[in-house]
């Protein structure tokens, strides 16, 4: 028979606590095991159960609106602290700042309260029946889609993105083939992971471009704003498990050679496509034609390979393929002509084909 102290102190033992919590589900055999292991009688356990369940505090629910109010006040006080030191801003301005914070916070609170009142049931259902959704952008088009968490994705032509119809609480996983521009809703608790090519991008927020076409050897990520890290299942990148990309940087990564190059050029060059703008900066003619093919869903073939590496600088917004080729031919010696569209066995027509030849 153990001393009183030993028995009571079992309440503080995590393993024993677990046993007590599950006690009602135990059969006589299991209970006997516990009696033996701890040297207790049934009466001892009876009392310990009462002690354990008697000390079960209710969770204290603090109204969210009050928490937000306290937070807003805190932020305001911090701002006030800074301002009174500089002594430049009038009191009215501070009040306006506070009012702004309170206003911005109140709206989410209203939305949240309404949401949980009216939509919680549906959310539970959605969580239970999550499916994979794939959105593809047809050749020659740009498609916009919104992910279940509100993040926006702009898909370039010939690209596709797959994601679950509902993100579970622990991750936001997305699979990308091709090119997309992301505007990710910030959620530090649940980072978004974009799998593209052979790499995984962990997103801490917010805006970035990923270029990962299967036909290319590399994955290219341009970070406009926020924080994104690159990692490869096949090993470390530059000796790091997660290679962090700085805003404004474009990182090109070759998974087979593990080569990584960084450019700090303007991000416009890499993200202009999402607004329908084609930008060429010292790109070879071959690359230009490849992009034109993709954008206009055509088959553009360069018959004279001697023209392939001619560098080009140009920006096109609304011009169609004819206008673009015409403009390009002003600075570069080439001619182009169409092949008549071929009718395929199933009755559809093949893509328009353009041949580029030296002039």
């Amino acid at each position: 028979m153990k001393r009183d102290e030993d028995i009571s102190i079992l309440i503080t033992d995590k393993n024993f606590q677990k046993l007590l919590s599950e006690w009602s589900s135990f059969n006589e055999e299991k209970k006997a095991e516990v009696y033996n292991e701890y040297g207790l009688t049934a009466k001892d356990v009876e009392i310990l159960l009462q002690l354990w369940f008697g000390l079960d505090f209710q969770s204290f629910d603090h109204p969210k609106a009050l928490i937000e109010e306290a937070l807003a006040e805190t932020v305001w006080k911090m701002a006030e602290g800074k301002n009174t030191h500089s002594g430049k801003r009038p009191i009215r301005r501070l009040y306006e700042q506070f009012a702004r914070i309170a206003a911005i916070l109140i709206i989410p609170i209203i939305i949240y309260t309404t949401y949980i009142q009216f939509f919680k049931v549906d959310q539970d259902l959605a969580e239970a029946t999550s499916q994979m959704i794939t959105v593809s952008s047809q050749a020659g088009t740009i498609t916009n889609t919104t992910l279940p968490d509100g993040s926006k994705v702009c898909l370039n032509a010939g690209s596709s993105i797959s994601y679950p119809s509902h993100f579970d609480g622990s991750t936001r996983n997305v699979l990308l083939t091709g090119e997309a521009f992301f505007q990710v809703v910030k959620n530090k608790k649940v980072p978004m992971v974009v799998s593209a090519g052979n790499v995984n991008l962990k997103v801490y927020g917010t805006s970035f471009n990923v270029n990962a076409f299967p036909s290319e050897e590399s994955v290219r990520v341009t970070l406009v704003e926020g924080s994104v890290s690159l990692s490869s299942p096949s090993g470390k990148i530059k000796n790091k498990d997660e290679y962090f990309i700085e805003p404004g940087q474009t990182v090109t990564y070759f998974d087979d050679s593990k080569k990584l190059t960084v450019q700090n050029e303007d991000t416009f060059f890499y993200t202009a496509w999402k607004d329908g703008i084609l930008v060429f900066r010292n790109n070879t003619f071959a690359t230009v034609l490849k992009q034109l093919s993709r954008k206009f869903n055509m088959d553009i073939e360069l018959k004279d390979q001697s023209l392939a590496s001619i560098p080009m600088d140009a920006t096109f917004r609304d011009e169609n393929v004819n206008e673009i080729l015409r403009l390009l031919s002003l600075g570069t010696p080439f001619r182009y002509y169409y092949e008549s569209p071929r009718k395929l066995p199933d009755g559809t027509f093949a893509k328009s084909k353009i041949f580029i030849v030296k002039n």
Binding site: D4, A70, K188
Partner: protein, 209 residues
Amino acid sequence: MVEFSEHTEDKVLWHDLKSGDKFCFNQLFRKYYPELYYYGIKIFPDPDFIKECIQKVFIRVWETRGSLAEVDNVKSYLIVSVRRMILAQKGKEKDKHNIEIGKAENYSFFFDVNEFEKHEEISDEIRKVLLTAINSLTKNQREMIMLFFYHELTYPEIAQILEISIPAARNLMYRTLIHLRESIGEKSLNSMKNMFFLLFSSVSVKKIE
């Protein structure tokens, strides 16, 4: 498993807060404000005062974020800070409050029966007995019960908060639990007899059916 990720999340939030991440500051505030408020109110039942103290703690955390150390348990750190802030502020503002400082200690860490969950394993009668026993403990014992069973802190953390040694904290817990166990021990025996009676009654009813 849940504990591990809670701990890790706090470490990330704390680390990022130190780097000046306002979002993490906000998240940490939202996460711990309720617990800190509940704890503070138990020390000194003045809602505005407690709110101010918690805010002052967070403001100071933000203002000194550059020189903050990595902490093992963020929650424990915050509780210690809030406790110290309350004591410090009480010293400064004693004239402004209705409850005098001397008497304030008498109001600390008393509990109401509604602060505890109902469970089938314990009858209302015994819950009341237990509550009376808890409220008749010393102030440190009552605070310890809350820190251990509500805030789920460890002995070293509790020792730091109560400003006693770790062995003293363990000892205090032993004595507290013995006292509580004894108080419900007798009552429990009686109620068990009642339970048996009820059991037999229901069995006979079933047989008739």
